[in-house]
Symmetry: C2
Subunit: 373 residues, 2 copies
Amino acid sequence: MDNFTYHIEAQDGNARAGIFKTPHADIPTPIFMPVGTQATVKAVTPEQLQEIGASIILSNTYHLYLRPGEDLIQELGGLHRFMHWDGAILTDSGGFQVFSLGGLRKIDEDGVTFKSHIDGSTHRFTPERSIAIQEALGADIIMAFDECADPTDHDYNVRSMQRTHQWAERCLAAKTRPDQALFGIVQGGIYKDLREQSARFISSLDFPGHAIGGLSVGENKDEMLASIEVVNAILPENKPRYLMGVGTPYDLIEGIRRGVDMFDCVLPTRLARHSAAQTLSGRMNLMNAQYARDEHPIDEHCACYTCRNYSRAYLRHLIRAREMLGATLISIHNIHTLLHLTQTLRQAILAGTFEQTAAALLANIPASERNNA
Amino acid sequence: MDNFTYHIEAQDGNARAGIFKTPHADIPTPIFMPVGTQATVKAVTPEQLQEIGASIILSNTYHLYLRPGEDLIQELGGLHRFMHWDGAILTDSGGFQVFSLGGLRKIDEDGVTFKSHIDGSTHRFTPERSIAIQEALGADIIMAFDECADPTDHDYNVRSMQRTHQWAERCLAAKTRPDQALFGIVQGGIYKDLREQSARFISSLDFPGHAIGGLSVGENKDEMLASIEVVNAILPENKPRYLMGVGTPYDLIEGIRRGVDMFDCVLPTRLARHSAAQTLSGRMNLMNAQYARDEHPIDEHCACYTCRNYSRAYLRHLIRAREMLGATLISIHNIHTLLHLTQTLRQAILAGTFEQTAAALLANIPASERNNA
């Protein structure tokens, strides 16, 4: 695991600023990871991502396994080369997508059998299969195969968590590539006892990094933040902590305040495809008539390519005319907003001013974006 | 008209290499102009267009008039600033789109009344109105308002051509901005007598440039090429000649051979959105299964961004996964193919080797792409 070292440069309260070294990039933390579900961050080129400052992106094992297939990607030189991305990549285990299929999947102790959302064909993931697929894809960071259960069913979470723990051990045993870091995932729903038990068990397995899974999927914000506190009090400090699938500005600030280092979310690109620009003082629906003749950029304080060069009026025109460039330009802005936020908080941690910076940022976030997104 | 000078650097047979100076760019001719119908070349950023080598793009008066409206664009600083394009722009007159509306428009001697394809509302274009709209948009080159008739109806073309000639005079009289060059348009369908008459009349009006309109809309290739020969024998040599709406590699080579300097066509971006890559040895449908594991770029001899960085297999994956980046990457390649072709032929004209170069290029074009596209 020499390829992967985590160095904490500064701590301010529970918030940490560090560098996680991976084969393709030194990742400054805290960091937001844009999501490239199908080996592309939707509507954005790798060069545009680099200009935004992205150093690591996430891609989805479930989607790439089904189409085009991990063997094809391996044959073409791995995911980095396939999608022309020289930075770091993290692949999820496929678990979250498979368990989201509802009636189309069946879980047993050994793994899960599911039907493809594309053509209904039957497939099976086990911890060993997930690791093999992720090794073929070749990301820098890969994830343990876990069950992502309804976080509000205590009895089910007991059984599910135990299965996730067994699967974590099987993932570690199955892993073969020294140039990939395998992260363990803490589960346990919204239950303090289960989260503690899971954090202790997963910490004991000596993963090079840890993730907090199963949040932002139905619980409320207070439950989410409480779970993060419980888990981070137990996870070792010298390894990166990744809060999976979370990505509003509010979530990032409150997560970082509680010691989270990494985040990912489809929200910035999904919002962009639905005409919504994310700023640190709230979302704007650029379809609104009020922007029709508005010569200002989305955010006058934003340094992104979109805000440097395009007016709200032009973006609204692109959206109304159903022009693809609209999704590209708003995606660039939205991703930039979250990456710039993590950079700002990183600087504040290094300067020892995290709480003041966080308080000022939180004061600008509208109430509607402090609740569940 | 001091802003606009056309300097011919070399002539080889009837083919010419020149520079047309406009306020925003010195345009090397022969040149292909990518089409940005709605103030955006579909799926491509201005920076990507610059990297491809585009110095002038075309935008559509009919579309911009209806949405977002020329007054809005003027208020926001004109089309260049609105769409963040620092190169030259040519706007068409709106005539072609309006006359393509079929039953939704009614022509009289003064102008044309039509219904919007967006909401069915009624509008009216006259030569004076078209010029006023184009002056508000602020392109470097604007076009006379003409009637684009069925090229194979002789009697109708007589009347239509006379109307186009009267409208050309009205456009010249209506024009006020010294920083825009107004091009006259030769009509006359596929008929030698009418084309000659039209070329003589339009030449007599002292436009700074001339266009050949009404071709590539139903006639066959031989008729198109014959019309170009008839017209270019009459048009003055010291002014640029623009063949409207034409853009296959075959058309460009044969047009340049006959003394055409400028071309535009939606084909490269439209093909891209339908999975087709244009190369100088033919079109490839990237959806085809034969490319599933193909690690080669679209064209190994192509220097475009897409061919430098992406495999056919990846592009096919993007298309199958309905990812927007697919249209972006193939559009970049297709536009590059046509611009590179005009650059290659320009160099050949300067070197005095046009015929050999054209013959070698034509030998690679499949028969299917020599017929009507």
